[in-house]
Amino acid sequence: MRMKRERPTDENWAAPTTPSGTADVLLEDAARISTIGTAARRLFTSWGYDEVIPPICERFETLLAGGIHPDWMIRFADPGGDALALRPDFTTQIARIVATRLRDQPKPLRLFYIGSVVRRPRPSAARRAEFVQAGIELVGSRNATADAEVVAVAIDALLRLGIDDVLIHLGHSAFFRGLVQSASLSEPDAAGLRDLLDRRDREALARRVADLGLDEPVAQRILGCLELCGGPEILDRAGAAASDDESANALRNLADIFEAVCDHGHRDRIVIDLAEVRGLGYYTGLMIEGFSRSLSAPILEGGRYDDLIDRLGDSCPAVGCALDVPRLASILAARRARPAPVDVLVHYEATAHREAIGLAASLREEGSRVELDVSDRTIEETAAYARARGIAELRIVEAGRTRILNVVSGAIRGGGA
């Protein structure tokens, strides 16, 4: 790489930039994002999902009621002084929609969305504030088959994009909750244990468990969570440990979901992960996290949220997940998946404008990407421009004849009408 640009002579001048955490997504990067959007839309539609387009901002109180942490949100006031926030997440909006305008629709309801979410970037690292999600919500079923469908649709979407080194971690938010409930811990004590488990800090967790004076079997079960990540045998191992009702039910539910996902043919892509206790505040059951071996960050997140719609006015179970579109795009970019360049540039003599338009239209009809020249450049200059843009073919339309210039080799064909 080298710096092509001269520095401005005025030391106080700086080029305008986008706000921190945001970026312009341009040209082939933008093409990748919209290719993913298009593929996701087609796939979600083929599974029977219908699109919804909620507004970019939402009442702050709705998002709070949804259980979203206020630190996540970029807040502002409308002209009347009411608190609003840019949506940090689609699921709460969809829960509101389902609880209100779509409440009389027959269930189950299958909805999908594609759009930006905006979150307050954390101070430690220059993190993105805005990114595109493409997600689905399956509303109105408590069945494990619904959870499994959401997982299967997500995997299908990733495979469709050519991302096949996929690992899907399935956890369950009620498993750890059941363990701490059986130990009758206070909310702060339970939260403290969850934080230490979240950091995978074995020693500090052991110390805290000892300090809390928990019974030996309970202590062992909580410490044992650190180990509960792997193949389906994890379900049996965790099953031996869970004696209380909520954890045992969670495991049975996760086993049912796992079986149903296997029926979709995805057994080898699933990791059972009961060590994961993070996740959005509104999850009540299954928690989904997806990874590609080629990226050090999750590419897919989701879960079951049976209480969320209730908090916004109508009782209804639901499960969903969202693909992280820019991260998928970065995987495709690393594989050098480039959008197709423009195929043909049509250059013409001033008097042949109408013929040139006709030629471009018929080439487009045949499926080519075609640019029509709008400059006053000479043929040589136009060929140089085509070369710089990676356009392989130049058509030169003159009165009564069209020539084809192969921009790469310089060969010219044609000449007749």
Partner: protein, 211 residues
Amino acid sequence: MKRLTIAVPKGRLLEPALALFARIGLVAEVAEKSRALVIPSVEGRARFLIAKPIDVPTFVEYGTADVGVVGSDVLAEDEHDVLQPLDLRFGACRLVLAAPRDTTTEPLPSHAVHRVATKYPRTTARYFARLGLQAETIRLYGSVELAPSTGLSSLIVDLVQTGATLRENGLEVIDEIAATSARLVVNRTAQKIRFAEIDALVRALSEEVMT
């Protein structure tokens, strides 16, 4: 599969960190007087990145390194989203509040705004907030002990190993804020997609530091 990448901090923790990894079979191939910042392990199973201590959690958070070694003082100061599975027990220090010797007999007045020089402004602000005291923190990047004698601040928050530097500069410890030591940090996603490998590494290191 890709080699495991381990970020280790330059400075006083470097030697004990490399020695610890060597004991579990990951021997860094350090050439004499080499200034290389990336060094392979002897059998090529891993590679080490030599980074400034404060940058280690950044390399790990972004996944450039899968695991890293860093002081708990750095982890407490910058909130990084990394796993912290193990206290490595070496490099033990104390993060302390200190003042000039002749002022330490009086309790800290609660009505005053205390000027505190430190390399740890966030940790310091948190500490004073917990005590219900008002503090103005002044960020320095080195020689923090200089601040009280030159009148820049009345207090300092700094990392001490033996306390000799404090004494030589006429300072005395008022309070210990935290006991610090080297910690193992792990990238969240690496822990998921290379679970067996990283779990084995953590267990091996854990056995080493416990004995």
